[in-house]
Symmetry: C2
Subunit: 479 residues, 2 copies
């Protein structure tokens, strides 16, 4: 019942503090910003009562460095418009997810269809590292089928929203609790894990929700689940509901967020901050409508907080392979703006960015591309380039130019880029020709005709597209 029981997982991972986990140059603002009581006190003109630099009272609830993934590509993902997974595809996806390192894989109810039941059995027999769960309605009929498949656990769901209450008030909550207890006790009697989740939790009555959760917690359910089935929840609302629930139940707390309003990753993070222990994901977020928390998005978010913890649990370099496997299976493209694996997630373009990244990647990168098997690409050939970025390239090419000369040639690059973006090869050519030009004693671009002549001469001798652009080309086509 107390918050220190925040995680009751069988094998709790080490819990480094958030502060200890972030890079030394990272100064989280929230440890410096006064918390609500201080602000209120300050506004009243009184002296703040607490030290604003002390950890927040709520911080010890946080599981941002102690959480598990329930990967639902083979359940929620099967509800995606384009999804039709045959047995072989399901097995391939399950194998890849297990190799990636997700703690749980959730499968479609074996009661959904005969093939669903067969596939569930087959995947249970694969001997994967991940535990296998299946997701059923809160019915004894479904439960009896589920426990015969060989799963490690059963996820039970039932609708509890105000919509349901409206049409059959009062009796329903009693009925829900009664049937939940029956199904939970049956599953437990088989010696496997059991979770009980409400549906559309954020439009359910709080008192009803807490009553149900407390009842199932008392009879020893392993996890309770909160589900934002319609994708309406926002981060602070999630934080408050999970924190409230954390004070009511002692079991684990699983959260499931749809992305209709773009908050599924952020809501998952705030749930963990409030003491949730398990997050539902699917690869690329596939699911009903526009889907749920994406596996890659959650990884990106949690890596920012504690990269070492993420690296210790998951094979991060496999993320792209897992995403490509699922994207192929459901015939979609990996979104161009996907966190981590989007084709331009590590491309830097504005002059001010390119300059700093060349000096120190952590200036504009919170994720290390190499940890994900990705590579960085710095674009210094656009009209947005700057002379400092160009200077870094000049130094890499070991050309000797003064700052004034670098500024001079940068103006030329911008002029060319106003017509067409210049590739790294184009930029290098301009730099080399410029260097040759000034080395011969010419006055840089104050003699533009001579420079243009030299550039044309160089291009005709070397062909227009040769050069050292492998990183760029590789990156541009990786998605």
């Amino acid at each position: 019942m107390c918050p220190s029981a925040a995680s009751t997982s069988a094998d709790p991972a080490p819990v480094p503090t958030t502060e200890g986990a972030v890079p030394p140059e990272f100064t989280p603002v929230d440890t410096h910003a006064p918390s609500q009581p201080e602000v209120v006190a300050a506004k009243n003109g009184t002296t703040p009562q607490h030290n604003p630099y002390a950890p927040r009272a709520s911080d010890f609830l946080s599981n941002v460095s102690n959480w598990k993934i329930i990967e639902s590509t083979l359940r929620e993902g099967e509800q995606f418009a384009n999804a039709f997974f045959d047995t072989e595809t399901k097995m391939k996806i399950a194998q890849a997810l297990s190799d990636f390192g997700v703690e749980y894989i959730e499968l479609t109810s074996p009661a959904a269809s005969e093939q669903s039941r067969e596939d569930c059995k087959r995947i249970c027999q694969m001997g994967l590292k991940s535990k296998i769960l299946t997701h059923i309605r809160c019915h004894m009929d479904d439960a009896r089928i589920a426990v015969e498949t060989g799963v490690d656990g059963v996820d039970i769901v039932i609708g509890t929203s105000s919509f349901l209450r409206k049409y059959s008030h009062g009796k329903d909550i009693t009925y829900i609790i009664k049937s939940a207890i029956e199904v939970i006790e049956f599953v437990k009697s088989k010696g496997i894990e059991v979770r009980f989740s409400s549906e559309d939790s954020f439009r359910s009555d709080l008192v009803d929700l807490l009553s149900i959760y407390r009842a199932v917690d008392k009879i020893g359910v392993n996890r309770v689940g909160i589900a934002d089935t319609v994708g309406c929840a926002n981060p602070r609302q999630v934080y408050e509901l999970v924190r409230t629930l954390r004070g009511v139940v002692s079991c684990d707390i699983e959260c499931h967020f749809h992305d209709d309003s773009g908050c599924a990753v952020a809501n998952a993070f705030c749930a963990l901050e409030a003491g949730a222990t398990h997050i539902d994901t699917s690869v690329l977020g596939i699911g009903e409508r526009n889907g749920i928390t994406t596996l890659g998005g959650l990884i990106a978010r949690m890596y920012v907080v504690n990269p070492e913890y993420c690296k210790s649990k998951y094979n991060l370099a496999m993320l792209r392979e897992v995403e490509n496997l699922v994207a192929d299976a459901v015939q979609v493209s990996v979104p161009f703006n996907n966190p981590i694996t989007g084709f331009c997630a590590f491309t830097h373009k504005a002059g001010i960015h390119a300059k700093a990244i060349l000096a120190n990647p952590s200036t504009y990168e919170i994720l290390k591309p190499e940890d994900f098997g990705m590579s960085r690409y710095i674009d210094i050939g656009s009209r947005l380039t700057g002379w400092n970025a160009v200077k870094s390239r000049v130094e890499q090419l070991e050309l000797e130019l003064t700052d004034e000369q670098v500024k001079d040639v940068t103006a030329k690059i911008k002029e060319l880029a106003d017509v067409r973006t210049q590739s790294m090869d184009d930029v290098d050519t301009v730099l080399r020709v410029y260097h040759k030009h000034v080395s011969s004693g010419a006055l840089g671009l104050r003699q533009p005709a001579r420079f243009d002549e030299l550039l044309a001469e160089h291009k005709s001798q070397n062909g227009s597209e040769a050069g050292d652009e492998p990183a760029a080309k590789k990156q541009k086509t990786s998605a």
Copy 2:
């Protein structure tokens, strides 16, 4: 200096409360969940001091129903890897954004290149409804060029992160304030709006940040900006920083969030909750790396809170057109899982979902597709279908079947869908043939051979792909 000065916009929009704006069946959990002080008190075993059902003290800061968009597709978006906008494209995008209704359009610095300057002037001469801003470094050189272009305002940015401080401590903050004041006063002297923003605000020293913001607020800057330049911020951290800043400055607060860790939409929302007034977006989020808060994502998020306010300000049905225009210009596809306009954002598949949606769309939809010129698609031909969903279709087709018969034919649909997902046309055929079968006195699928024969007969007479599937086909190819 007081929170009631949360918005100092020139033309404040009406400020309905969040509670008044949400649909009646929506019960936000956060008005029921006890706020932090109550939880603490309850845990100590004392009586809570406040009424947990009262609005939270912080709620009056919220601008979730009073905010503006600074649309940066033509500035941040130009920093996207694939972006190279010629003059015509820029003008088309600007026109579309203005027609959509964004309050501000931000353009690349005219100091970036000669063409950038020309384009800035041209767009200012278009007579758009949106105000035109340009984004410059905190340099007098840039400012002098900017104010000559005809823009309605200038957005100034300067780096303030700990990285900067580390290499030149102390003097830099003084220097930043000094140059900021010089540039701001110059821009103000021209009678146009001016914003001052830090860069990488969430890795900057809080005291430095607040000192700078207060200094520029005192000399009458119109807006101060917070920027999560590296995409590391999380929602509650954003809420705290904005709320703290809200107590320090009386001017408007603009926020800019990158999406490296998937929180750009959620962070924007929490910033508005804490009293921010302006949010930077770009169409599909295009920008450095994987980009920033998407225009569509922000609209989805804010529509959930107050649909009427969003509809009153923006031409929501134009969203898809604006996205397609930009997607074409930068040669990307609209992500399959995009909020609102993703091809399956309004597709419902699991039986339990399909059944409820047929009865009442608000059960599983928080966004009304018709408000965005989109349409709903209900998939009842998958192995995840349910008899209630099938029953609804039977009623739509005006076929008379008993519940037992509907369950019987649902089993047949699941059997067929285990082999291949059935289109709506396929399902309708099965239903019509089944109806004919039982009307002739047959015992449903207890006479399966006869049914299969009838089905084959029907298909050979009618062709396999004819039928009434326009909604499905339209939806599937819309992206």
